[in-house]
Amino acid sequence: MITLVAGASGFVGSRVVHALHSRLPGSVRAGLREDRADFARLGICQSIMDAARPATLPPALDGVTHVVNAIMASPAAMIGTTRNLLAAAQAAGVKRFVHLSSIAVFGGQEGLIRDDSPYGADVDAYGAAKIECERLVRASGLEWVILRPALIHGAGSEPWTARIGRLLRQRRLGDLAERGDGLCNLILVEDVVAAILAALDRPEAAGHAFNLADPDPVTWNRYLMDFALEIGATPVHRLPGWQWKVEKLAAIPLKLTAIARDKTKLGSLPVPDAITPGFARLFALDLRYDPAKADRLLGFPRTPHAEGLRRAAIWFASRR
């Protein structure tokens, strides 16, 4: 069994590479656009590839039995990269294709969401592209497993650990009162990796899509309180109504400034995180994901909530 991890330099992809390598050295091939020193040091086989350029794929897939598609791409690019990767995998005779999708395919639905719940009608461009990719995977003729992680937190998670931690320290998040009663559907990055390994291994997982989220989610208020206590953002701030109004007014200028910074390559210019109305709404969403099928067919080990928070906090504190 040789597994190609496409998108091996990414947040999830790199961890999958390490996990597969430590499980069995020589069993993983890292598919990426540029060499990584840490992979090289460990003697991990690296294949330079770019899924947007089909010609680069056959060498990367040569001799590969399993593929993990962990490529992160813009909505415009991801359909093409998925199509190219699927075609190349089929040509290479790949046995199983594990595709990382997203809960964005469900849009703004609330309530209990199952693995086979219908796609959302109100999805954004990202969700729409993810839906199209899932359709391509299902129609590929390959043996496939689709994984849809919820909000991935833990070591290395910029949006759900680093950003949340910064906002807690800045007293821009904390106790959200009635605005934070929604359920917090996180999944620890280690658990996503464990689910991917199970999706590669377990025969019964084939042909199924799985939502990956905390089976017993706490409210956002609880999570923010617990994480604030872990990282020492105390005393935990309770946000007054006027602060939400200020955030709402500031969100668009902050977002535009951040975009301008990225466009002009002023990468080091610190721009405060924006709390956009969409981000703020998330804290009140009342939804959870039914873990039953994932537990039955993937059966991957889940990290207890408190332990996940602790690990996330240790990583957060260790950042520069």
Binding site: D175, E178, D181, L229, P235, G241, D286
Partner: protein
Amino acid sequence: MFEDCATASGLGGSTLRTMLCIIGAGPAGISLALQFIGTATDVVLVAGGALDHESRMQALYAGEVADEAMHSPLTEYRHRQFGGSSATWGGRCLPFDPIDFEARPWIDGACWPIAHEEIARFYPAASALAEIGEPVFDAREAIPGGMREMAGGFAPRAFDLDRIERFSPPTHFGRRYGERLRRAPNIRVLLNAHAVQIERQAGSPRIGRVKLCTLEGAEFSVAAERFVIATGGIETARLLLASRRDDATGIGNARDLVGRNYLCHIAGTMGRLTFTRPASEIFHGYERARDGTYCRRRMALRPEIQREKRIANIVMRLHHPRLPDPAHGRGILSAIFLAKPFISYEYSKRLHGGDALTAGLFLRHARNVLREPFDTAGFLANWARRRRLSARKFPSLIIAPRNNSYSLDIHAEQVPNPESRVTLGSALDAFGQPQARVDWRHRPLDLESVRVALHALKDELARWGGGILEFDEAEIPDAMLSEGAYGGHHIGTARMGRSPEEGVVDADGKVFGTENLYVAGSATFPTSSQANPTLTILACALRLAAHLQSRREHPAIETGRAA
């Protein structure tokens, strides 16, 4: 879901059917309803007011007070709106003490039919509802490393200085939890619907329906398998007493107990405690737990001393000098005194006492303000930031005296007294219902407990040698009764008892003589404790919810599952 009965059409004459009808949408009623979200029980929550304060709703609370010097008007300290009086509370939360639940032979009528533990196991969940952080009420554990000592080295035998109070933001239960109720498909909140009569099924111990009215003139009813009255200490008695269609003296009142033993707290500020230790060793302020909650120490008279001295439960806090006396010399205290017209009735009464502002007094206070302009301005800016601009509000004024000399803020249990009563008055409200009439009375033991506790503290301080307490025994009645019944703590009017001779409701909160009518809230407390009631109101509501969920009723003939 929410339904505004003031504007709904077609209500008149109709009967809404449900499984559980909760009358009253204050902290107790809302907390109870929240427990049924997502269950198979359909709930109607009757809110006798609008989402916000409306004076025509508030006017329905008007009533008579036997002695106006002894009790505030019935339209004060209570809010007739969704969320109830949590719209105005101060947020102080602490549990009742085990001794409150014990039979104390020296206090007539002091006994709960349940043990402390029965309520205590619901305090953690109640604390979450009140948003007071971790349910830790010990100064040594509430903050890493322990809270600051109140007075360095003072370790009295008679008082526990490690008991703390934690402060809610304070939570407005309507605003905080309304959205959850609105989204719950099995909860139907009726706004602006006023319960006027509880009616039995013909000749039966079962309650069949509650009659509701709107100020727009609609009359309709809710038929349910079970009913809970959660309308507060005064309105609960009024509704039971006024429900005379089937029982001549009111529902649950066969033994003339409804409305009796009406308790509040005995509270006031008095005495002068001067520390001889350096001011830096004295701390009477708030500290914040890591979760953000404000916490404060208090001096609680230990239960063994209460037993030994045969007195009621009591606590004291260090307090700034009395505001109205300009001799304190503090600009900020004078500024607050002069700001009286801008402070709400409830807080102004507490802060200012009954002192009238004369020209001479005005000048002396104005001089204090002018003498410390920066100090005063700094305080006000800080106050604006920590109270006005904060969602978790700084709970109360903390001003250290210039001379290390504090007054004592006393909060004591009021002992049961059958002559202290809520009855029906002669005047009628907009629905033709009798208004409530309050005749609050206290007993000699109430003031005696304060006297004994003050002496106990005085002796302890003398033994310690770090402070001197001076007080005039003759001051006690004036100081403790300057406001009469303290504040908005309305307790005991449908007290819990082991038998109909002892109480209006049984240990489960069910009204004796009925099969399916319950009371939630401080009306059921047989004793008042030294503690403010809200946290225990929430714990009792949660306990009642657990009880109602543990045994489902057989659907009655007259009612059925809501369509």
